[in-house]
Symmetry: C2
Subunit: 170 residues, 2 copies
């Protein structure tokens, strides 16, 4: 972890977290992994990020135990339990960002499978449970702009998709 992203003089859990997930692109990489993206090229094409930065970020996430490389050769990247614990952060940032920039018209919605939509506290509006991400389905919301991107991941995410399930791109 480079010195330019650390906070050695902050005795604080937030600083410890930001040292790992605070760098540019990292949380968006994790977002994509929650959405089921598994392959380097899919991540790269969906994020439009330089391959050098993506490679460096993935290495760090693997080294710190947030991602796991599965399989030899063209590996698949999967979230660990530690990373999955960050889901509420991502959900809240998604909702907060949508509320500020597209009030009442979220770009993406999240649903407790077979139940209700998730509210601001991450709980199902129907049963009040805060479901595990694997029991969450994500859908394109009314505020989404389907014309902005057409990479394979963006196209696949036009359909509802269960979090943590591998996203199949053509």
């Amino acid at each position: 972890m480079a010195l330019g992203t650390d906070y050695p003089r902050q005795d604080c859990g937030i600083a410890r977290s930001l040292e790992l997930v605070g760098e540019r692109w990292t949380l968006l990489i994790l977002r994509d992994c929650f959405l089921g993206v598994r392959r380097f090229s899919d991540l790269q094409a969906h994020l439009d990020v330089s391959r050098a930065v993506l490679s460096s970020r993935l290495d760090a996430l693997v080294a710190e135990g947030l991602l796991e490389r599965v399989g030899d050769g063209h590996a698949s990247y999967e979230l660990t339990e530690d990373a999955i614990a960050l889901w509420p952060v991502l959900l809240l940032l998604a909702q907060w960002g949508d509320q500020r920039t597209s009030p009442g018209r979220p770009r993406r919605t999240f649903h407790h499978v077979g139940c209700g939509i998730l509210g601001r506290d991450g709980r199902c509006s129907t049963c009040d449970v805060a479901p595990h991400p694997r029991d969450v389905e994500t859908r394109r919301g009314p505020g989404a702009d389907p014309t902005l991107r057409s990479d394979p991941v963006s196209r696949a995410l036009r359909e509802p998709h269960r979090l943590l399930e591998p996203l199949v791109t053509a």
Copy 2:
């Protein structure tokens, strides 16, 4: 907002959020504001950040409606409701970072005033309510290192303190 921190090609609430709070130091500034720090020099001394960066971050937070300059001359910085909505993110990052780097010995704990300690879901372990930050008291935890810093803010935070209340530094 500079181009190097934006994600114009991401149609995503998380990207919108990160465009505002994803820059280095921003979330720590907001953390300090939750802890009741109000003045430029206290922020600067507690964060050990260059004054140019702090000034730039504060300007952006004010411009985007997350902070409010109160008073003329030597202004005071106060969180807006929009910013206060980010409290669960900060709480979760604090807990996640502490759990990973100091398991069982958090550097800082948060308590529902007159009730119980807050758990991982931000709810009071006694009454199960997720209290508003103004009803939360923060205390130094068993994992804190009181020798790391001795700026006025760090010294003041050795005592329990209510979130959002102005932190008085000598």
